[in-house]
Symmetry: C2
Subunit: 299 residues, 2 copies
């Protein structure tokens, strides 16, 4: 995710005396870009190449981090499919602007090698008192509590411990038929606003770390359900696990730890928007609008 | 906005007896697509050509409905600029993926004809007990109450009557400098998820009715602040008020009235998701996820 910056926030303006006190209070909070720039090395982690997918299209590369912890069988299955080169030559055959880009084998007949054709639903998981879950202040209409789990936007029911990953832009999930256990190879990426109503209806098991701009370049489908007339236009040239590439091609990516002090400061800054430009400060941020910063690491 | 349909919701499945009662209750609610298809003619209104902009780019046409009622001076100004052909040959010179596409005269020097260089901020308006505002059930983290006003996603404070348009995907607004009254010609379109933290910080005065897919085709900028190295790639060929075109080129668009019974049913269906495919029903919808249906009218 890119750091979000105010529009045209270039000129400073002289403040009337009445605003000075408030201004000085706001100055104690650093801006999101300052927080990210100043985050110590320990607040960053390196994405695990064994849980990173490179999806190469004609428009460029999309990099996905898998949430193996939350959806182990789904993550293992897509890695098995990637390792059998299952997706190479398939395509994003259904792309609905403002909604999702969906890819895989539309026919359902392609051999799957060592992978399973269907994996059981991993819509949510019981994780009572999980210290790794970093909550953010509510309200949220779709869940009792929202926050982040190992870098992924998530939600949970604090009473039961039920925890799930949520459909923010860039969410990576398996599609399914009516049977909840019918997913396993066709995946989709959320390309519009959040699609939170799909939470706990499909298995979200990753998010796009880099390349949403590439996904946005995919051709949209205009047949029923957003199917493309010519899916080959959105061909997947290759889909690989980063760990399987030579070390120098693994493009190490660092992600700000969502359980770090820097991330807590970032959430606060997004809530309170200390920059001078703002005249109405929201004092709130929804889970999909925080953004988990990432950057290219050193090779 | 396109109707959003569940993923791969094609196959029906036989229900265990235990679910039959719930199923029959859900069946009483029609699906969003049924509601839209069955909405009577009286529940649709025709977009006013005098408040409709056609923005033509190399990638196609973007159609914007102006909220003249909520931001009369901003709407009047952009129409005056359009009528002076101010935007023709300018470009979307700043495009940040997942955030906004911004257009206008980057230099700030282009003559403005009969338009004003800057218009006063129209961030919100006092509309106590306004019957035209259709609230939807909360919670919403950014505003005391959300809903729709003449087809536009909006929010208000019921205690004071302060009402404002909100930054959903497709929102159309004037950018500004630090001075709140510095907008007037540079506009932006929200191209990522909602940017609600900008609410009441800029003047939202329209929304994209058609052509978000075209906006998504614009080239992204990779210089500081998302500026394009070559803005001409995103040239605006022409920007016109629909009413100024010959009648047969006005492409009449019909919009579902947000104060109609059909729209109330649509909000309920989006909240409860009666379709069989869902196993977890949200019982909630945020103001940016309802979608105000529109369709081409008869010429």
């Amino acid at each position: 995710m890119k750091t979000i910056i105010p529009l045209l926030c270039t000129a400073l303006f002289s403040l009337p005396a009445a605003q000075a006190a408030e201004q000085s209070q706001q100055a104690a909070l650093r801006s999101p870009s300052q927080i990210i720039a100043e985050a110590p090395a320990a607040d960053w982690r390196r994405a695990d190449p064994d849980n990173t997918l490179f999806i190469d299209t004609r428009a460029g590369r999309v990099i996905v981090e898998l949430a193996s912890d939350m959806a182990p069988r789904s993550a293992a299955n897509i890695k098995a499919l990637a390792r059998g080169h299952f997706y190479d030559g398939l395509s994003f055959y259904r792309v609905v602007d403002g909604f999702v880009a969906q890819a895989g084998d539309k026919t359902g007949n392609k051999p799957m090698g060592k992978a399973e054709r269907h994996v059981p639903a991993e819509f949510s998981m019981m994780r009572r008192n999980d210290k790794a879950f970093t909550p953010i202040p509510g309200p949220d209409g779709y869940a009792p509590q929202t926050g982040f789990l190992h870098g992924f936007p998530a939600a949970r029911n604090p009473d039961t411990g039920e925890t799930w990953l949520v459909h923010c832009p860039g969410a990576f999930a398996f599609g399914r038929e009516a049977d909840i256990n019918s997913g396993g190879s066709e995946f989709y990426i959320v390309i519009g606003g959040p699609q939170r109503y799909l939470d706990r209806n499909t298995t979200v098991f990753g998010r796009v770390l880099e390349g949403m701009e590439v996904v946005q370049k995919l051709q949209r489908g205009h047949q029923a359900m957003g199917m493309l007339e010519n899916p080959a236009a959105n061909e997947i040239l290759s889909l690989r696990v980063a760990a399987d590439l030579p070390a120098k091609e693994q493009q190490p990516i660092e992600i700000l730890r969502t359980d770090s002090a820097s991330f807590a400061d970032l959430v606060a800054a997004r809530r309170h928007r200390p920059e001078d430009w703002f005249v109405a400060r929201p004092d709130y941020v929804d889970v999909c609008s925080v953004g988990v910063p990432s950057r290219r690491g050193d090779d």
